[in-house]
């Protein structure tokens, strides 16, 4: 990203002014870096209000990043459980169902706990707003949750309850419930991408094409990873394949995000987001390679690979979350792209070819 000083200048009376009001620096913008290192390479100069952010960084904390992971995990595991159910893999089914449900419970906790007023969580059910991914997600979860929990409950029923009428009914309902849940799982895995994208957060919004695939890939990788962790090698082949496919999607999409020629991509490739996502890539890649190789034979390797995939997925979510936060803390991510867009529009109006936006938006 190199920006000629002049292009950001406005015309009118400002010609010749040197009061750039903030500078973007090549690195070290993350607030968590602690050190007060002197900024080094000026990357672009733009004007701002005392370097103050234009946007409010998300008020969400780690719980939402964690939910991105647990929600994806629950969805991936629910799909795996349904497949296992249909293909007669009882251990994989049982633990995937249980894992999916546990992840769902964790998700519920994380979502409610992150609210400013947790006791009002049920206000989410007041409206059904198509314009709000969170509202859509709420209703998806409302549809997804009962079947998911029902199926898991059927699998963990104590023996003496199984025999009772309700127990029998429950077991009867388990498959349809599990299948219904699985049918909604892709929505659970992907809506969170829209949730993040439909914000003014530059890094999230700018990545709105890629985030869904990143998230579903990550969900698949973590779901597969969970399957490898909990199921015997013999039953885990679909899990390994799901993990491998998901990991591939996750890694490739993550790379695609990094390679976008936009300024916002910088939020993913610098600072803490970068470090988290690099670690994620190592873990996911390692897990995936193991999944298609040694994990087919070795239970310990399978378990380790499963853990690596889970960790890789989680770190990817935290990395994406961090990138979004970082892109709101620095006004450059808001001002520079918008200014460029204006310049292009103005140039188009004036009939001159302006600086082209590399990604064509």
């Amino acid at each position: 990203m190199s920006q000629d000083d002049g292009t950001l200048r406005e015309p009118r009376s400002d010609a010749g002014a040197t009061d750039f009001t903030a500078r973007v620096f090549a690195s070290g913008r993350g607030g968590d870096d602690g050190g007060r290192e002197r900024p080094v390479v000026p990357r672009a100069e733009f004007r701002s209000y005392y370097g103050r952010p234009v946007l409010k960084p998300p008020v969400w904390n780690w719980k939402i990043a964690a939910y991105l992971f647990t929600g994806g995990l629950s969805a991936g595991a629910a799909l795996l459980a349904a497949g296992a159910d249909l293909t007669g893999r009882p251990v994989l089914r049982r633990w995937s169902r249980t894992g999916s449900s546990a992840a769902l419970m964790a998700s519920m906790y994380l979502l409610v706990a992150d609210l400013g007023r947790p006791e009002r969580f049920h206000h989410m059910l007041r409206v059904a707003k198509p314009s709000s991914p969170m509202s859509v997600g709420t209703w998806i979860l409302v549809a997804y949750g009962p079947g998911n929990v029902l199926a898991a409950a059927a699998d963990v029923l104590p023996a003496r309850v199984r025999a009772t009428l309700p127990g029998r009914l429950l077991r009867l309902a388990a498959r349809p419930a599990g299948l219904a849940s699985a049918a909604l799982a892709p929505a659970v895995a992907s809506y969170t991408a829209v949730l993040l994208s439909q914000t003014a957060v530059p890094a999230w919004h700018d990545a709105h094409r890629h985030l869904p695939l990143l998230f579903t890939g990550s969900a698949a990788a973590s779901g597969g990873g969970l399957g490898m962790l909990v199921a015997p090698v013999a039953e885990a082949a679909p899990a390994r394949r799901l993990a491998a496919a998901g990991a591939a999607a996750e890694i490739l999409t993550a790379r695609a995000i990094d390679r976008r020629p936009t300024l916002e991509a910088g939020a993913y490739t610098t600072g803490r987001a970068h470090r988290l996502r690099r670690a994620s890539e190592y873990l996911t890649l390692g897990g995936a390679v193991a999944a298609v190789t040694l994990a087919r034979r070795s239970r310990p390797v399978a378990a380790a690979a499963g853990l690596a995939l889970l960790a890789g997925s989680a770190l990817q979510r935290f990395g994406v979350f961090e990138a979004g936060v970082a892109s709101t803390r620095d006004p450059a991510y808001v001002v520079v792209p918008q200014r460029e867009r204006l310049e292009r529009r103005k140039a188009a109006q004036d009939g001159h070819p302006g600086p082209a936006r590399p990604d064509g938006t």
Binding site: A22, G31, G116, A193, T199, A200, P212, L213, R339
Partner: protein, 339 residues
């Protein structure tokens, strides 16, 4: 009731689009910063009427601005910008004085450096205390022997929630706490808000924020209660020089156009309207401004777009990704046999 521009683009009647029948005309603010004296009466009048708490006793060094930003506890914010530039035909009285180089850039840099290390990059301003601290390094350019300065202007501008035609905060709110009123304004209902925080990230202007101790999201209501009683919002009423004008949006737009023309005629070529255009990324603002410099100089985004604009596309991508996941899940069981 919905139409093709329900989510973005020009929308004639937002209140009707939101289901209000027989509603009053759309109202808003026109803030003419060319007559703002930076007195901050708007900030205090707003806080007084709305019982907004004090949000930090920190010296910020942003000229006379010690509020810094809009936030959960600052619904009006007066920006102060010192610049080495001329303002129309104003004579700042520096000609022929034994001046050295300007420090307006240094002033910006010192504060910006403080911002980098402050909570949320300084975006906590307006919501809670932010300590910019003391300057920590040798200042660049403090005494470089450049030419003496001869130009100066001091810009002041009272910022407020824009009450967008397409409001990012309102669109994403999952509880309906944020809603469009019969006046086409955007208001958080405090009896509903559960503090999910989505609106904070949905706003392309960085206006709305969550109060840490209270847990709910807060912003300007355009004095919804006063409007319902036929009263003018507190800030506009207090504004000594009528920099903040309240009224039906159509009238305000006409007035703003006339004022712009007048200023251009008077040689203030740098005057421009911000948020006036119904064709812009948020469908035009209910609270718009006459500025004397680029918006980012006042801390405003130069070309904000409501995130909802891309909503259908985003769901499309999500659908593709979801389908791919479903297909992959099916494939891993179907292919490869039972191993």
């Amino acid at each position: 009731m919905t139409n093709e521009h329900s989510l973005h683009g020009p929308l004639e009647d937002p209140a009707a689009d939101a289901g209000h029948v027989g509603h009053p005309p759309r109202v808003g603010f026109f803030t003419d910063t060319s007559v703002c004296i930076g007195c901050k009466a708007c900030e205090v009048a707003c806080k007084t009427w709305n019982d907004v708490p004090e949000d930090g006793l920190d010296l910020l060094g942003m000229s006379y601005d010690n509020t810094g930003m809009l936030g959960a506890s600052s619904w009006r914010h007066v920006a102060f910008v010192e610049q080495e530039r001329p303002l129309g035909r104003q004579d700042p009285g520096l000609a022929a004085l034994p001046t050295g180089p300007s420090v307006t850039g240094v002033q910006q840099d010192v504060v910006a450096e403080g911002m980098r290390h402050a909570e949320r990059g300084g975006a906590q301003l307006g919501t809670g205390p932010v300590d910019v601290g003391f300057p920590s390094f040798e200042l660049p350019g403090a005494s470089t022997g450049a030419e003496g300065r001869t130009d100066f202007r001091w810009l002041m501008s009272s910022d407020v929630c824009k009450h967008c035609t397409h409001a990012g905060c309102l669109d994403v709110c999952p509880t309906g706490a944020l809603f469009r009123t019969e006046f086409s304004t955007v208001v958080v209902q405090q009896d509903i808000c559960n503090g999910c925080g989505y609106c904070v990230s949905g706003c392309p202007y960085g206006v709305i924020d969550r109060r840490p101790d209270d847990g709910r999201a807060w912003k300007c209501t355009l004095c919804y209660d006063r409007l319902r009683g036929g009263l003018e919002p507190a800030c506009a009423k207090a504004c000594p020089t009528d920099s903040i004008q309240f009224g039906p949006l159509d009238e305000l737009r006409e007035r703003a156009d006339r004022r712009l023309e007048q200023l251009h005629g008077a040689g203030v070529a740098e005057a421009r309207l911000y948020g006036r255009d119904p064709e812009d990324g948020v469908g035009g603002d209910g609270a718009f401004f006459l500025l004397l410099d680029e918006p980012e100089v006042y801390g405003l985004p130069p070309d904000p777009v409501v995130p909802t604009r891309d909503l259908p596309r985003m769901w499309k991508y999500a659908g593709v990704a979801a389908s791919a996941l479903l297909a992959a899940a099916a494939a891993v069981f179907v292919g490869g046999g039972k191993r």
